[in-house]
């Protein structure tokens, strides 16, 4: 089942999505390649979340094709869909931890449901995931209401990673974090890409984060992908929106210097 290294793990073609009668996405074409981090940007309300939610199956689409890990989600039956579900992890913007379960039980939840391991191994894996995202093991016992925003995001990331997914969806992972935590989170994402070889689809508005972590960036506007490419290509683009986005008041001068390589 392993795909060749350069193959797209997510293939989106001519995607049209309508909310009520408003056409939000109009012919989106986008690939996520194996092992890459794809940053996904666009103005607020441009439909970034709509695209993410459509790919992960929370919103219905009007037309188009979505293929995840070689499976066309339209034609797949329930079993195939579930098989895909366990091969991706989703980090929601607010974490979406189950508030009635402790942090550890949140991480254990998918493991318990899908893998049916012994309680001992399940707990050990949950702790290992928590430590992998930079938390102390004892966070296991804390409830979401007792955790700070940054910790909630980390626990949610640990839960998204619980089944060692091949694809990770991150919805604004650094929003609401202080610069230090945001920097640590970027580093964490890079480490995960390196150690687990996971492909990451990241919606973000954080320019620093885009610059530091992303292999490629895709820009959404007017219901279409305006441009997709590396950070340098984005900085060199003549598109007016891209210019104001990447050369605006929040931009830095040193972005031409590659961090990754």
């Amino acid at each position: 089942m392993a795909l060749p290294p350069t193959e797209a793990v997510i293939k989106v073609q001519d995607l049209v999505v309508e909310l009520d009668t408003r056409r939000v996405l109009n012919g989106v074409k986008l690939d996520l390649l194996r092992g890459e981090i794809l940053g996904f940007v666009g103005a607020s309300g441009a439909g970034k979340s709509v695209l993410t939610r459509t790919i992960i199956g929370l919103l219905p689409k009007r037309e188009g094709l979505i293929e995840v890990l070689g499976v066309d989600l339209d034609k797949a039956d329930d079993r195939e869909k579930q098989a895909v579900d366990r091969r991706w992890g989703v980090l929601f913007q607010q974490g979406a931890l189950f508030s009635s379960l402790s942090a550890g039980k949140n991480v254990e939840f998918p493991i318990r449901e899908y893998l049916g391991l012994s309680q001992k191994l399940t707990t050990e894996m949950a702790i290992s995931k928590l430590e992998m995202v930079g938390l102390k093991p004892d966070v296991y016992r804390n409830f979401p209401s007792e955790l700070s925003g940054g910790m909630i995001k980390r626990v949610a990331l640990a839960r998204a990673l619980a089944l060692d997914p091949e694809i990770l969806f991150l919805d604004e992972p650094t929003s609401g974090l202080d610069p230090i935590s945001a920097g640590e989170f970027d580093q964490l994402i890079l480490t995960l890409q390196e150690t687990l070889g996971v492909s990451i689809f990241m919606v973000t508005h954080d320019l620093d984060s885009l610059h530091r972590t992303c292999d490629r960036i895709a820009v959404l506007g007017n219901g279409k992908i305006i441009e997709a490419g590396t950070m340098d290509q984005m900085l060199g683009s003549n598109h007016p929106w891209l210019k104001s986005y990447f050369h605006g008041a929040r931009a830095h001068d040193d972005w031409h210097v590659p961090v990754k390589g």
Binding site: S100, L115, L117, E124, S128, R141, P144
Partner: protein, 378 residues
């Protein structure tokens, strides 16, 4: 995708070679765990162990942790343990997994079962005391807010109150009418059924009249309102509390009691007496219909008998209780709503508490009123 295996190799001079192969991934973790445990516990005598992972096709954190776990057991027994054949890409993964402690600090257990029971009893009692304090405090804040509103009538959230009037009052009318109608009918049917034995059918009118106007009307309405509107108040205020809306109000210099709670409780104070009146009438009507159809008591006879058996006092006793019940329901609902903490579970628990406590208090209050009216001879 090949299944994962762990083969025990040769034991030579106290050394053991193990060879891992296949996919050491999450899907196979269930099958792998017993294999690894068996290898770990079957060879207690070895002094040196080598795990060869050259033929592992795929490895994820599950596989890596299973290998790391057995390594830790060996090392804690003083065995020399080593992994060979690890590729670079998996080396990173191993380093990451190895970095974790992998276990929780043990919980300290406090006391034995007797002290634990005593402690829980004590905590429950303290919770009751805390509840009483909270209700008193809320009643106080309400009075203060009320006086402020009396001093500056423009401050009162009239629109909000009208909105609540519609929701707790107008929308509740059909269900209240239906339920009290049925209760009145049942009372009459039971009365006729048993009184008939003594040939005292006609007294069913006295029973239904007094019971409905003094007790049943107001009680049924209050229980309905507590379940219908009290729970809604708690859930609304609770979710506002969860999403920090209450704090936002406070920081803008508004008193949540004045803005959120006063209009709600006023709406209840106005609504509950009206609903009680409508409910009592519907119950009497139900009683009358059943008396006519089932007991053969003519409507005119029913009305004439009703006229003799009840007085304005019976009616007043029921109606006087209504606003007090409304205050109790509103207070409990709002106090519980503001007690909600961050989790969805606590919202559910507080909503349950709100309904249970307000129904309990409504019945206790009804008992107190019964004693009071009896002692003043009404």
């Amino acid at each position: 995708m090949t299944a994962a295996t762990l083969q025990g190799g040769h034991v030579n001079d106290g050394g053991l070679d193990l060879a891992a192969a296949g996919s050491w991934t999450a899907e196979h973790a269930r099958a792998l765990e017993p294999l690894v445990d068996k290898a770990t516990h079957a060879n207690e005598t070895v002094r040196r162990i080598v795990i060869d992972v050259t033929r592992v096709e795929r490895l994820d954190t599950y596989g890596a942790w299973l290998i790391e776990r057995t390594m830790r057991v060996w090392i804690s027994r003083g065995v020399e343990a080593e992994i060979v054949g690890l590729s670079d890409s998996y080396g990173h993964l191993f380093k990451k997994v190895r970095a974790g402690a992998g276990k929780l600090t043990p919980l300290v257990r406090r006391g034995n079962s007797i002290t634990a029971t005593l402690e829980s009893v004590g905590r429950t009692m303290m919770a009751v005391v805390a509840d009483i304090l909270l209700f008193t405090q809320m009643a106080g804040s309400l009075v203060v807010a009320f006086l402020r509103v009396v001093a500056h009538p423009t401050k009162f959230r009239f629109t909000s109150m009208v909105n609540h009037l519609e929701r707790v009052g107008w929308h509740a009318v059909p269900i209240i009418l239906l339920i009290t109608f049925l209760i009145g009918s049942i009372l009459a049917q039971q009365g006729i059924f048993h009184f008939r034995t003594f040939g005292a059918d006609i007294y069913v009118v006295d029973m239904v009249g007094v019971l409905v106007l003094r007790e049943v009307g107001v009680l049924i309405v209050c229980i309905m309102v507590a379940g219908r509107s009290g729970s809604a108040y708690t859930a609304e205020l609770g979710s506002m509390k969860m999403r920090e809306e209450v704090d936002a109000l406070r920081t803008m210099g508004f008193d949540p009691v004045e803005v959120l709670i006063l209009p709600r409780i006023f709406a209840l104070i106005i609504t509950v007496p009206i609903l009680t009146f409508l409910g009592s009438m519907a119950a009497l009507y139900g009683g009358g219909v059943v008396a006519w159809l089932y007991g053969g008591i003519d409507p005119q006879v029913f009305l004439a008998r009703l006229h003799e058996s009840i007085s304005v006092k019976s009616f007043a006793v029921g109606m006087i209780k209504a606003p007090f019940m409304a205050i109790v329901i509103g207070l409990v609902a709002c106090v519980e709503g503001l007690q909600v903490k961050g989790s969805a579970e606590s919202l559910g628990a507080k909503t349950t508490d709100s309904v249970v406590k307000s129904i309990f208090l409504v019945i206790v209050l009804d008992g107190a009123f019964a004693i009071f009216f009896a002692s003043i001879g009404v």
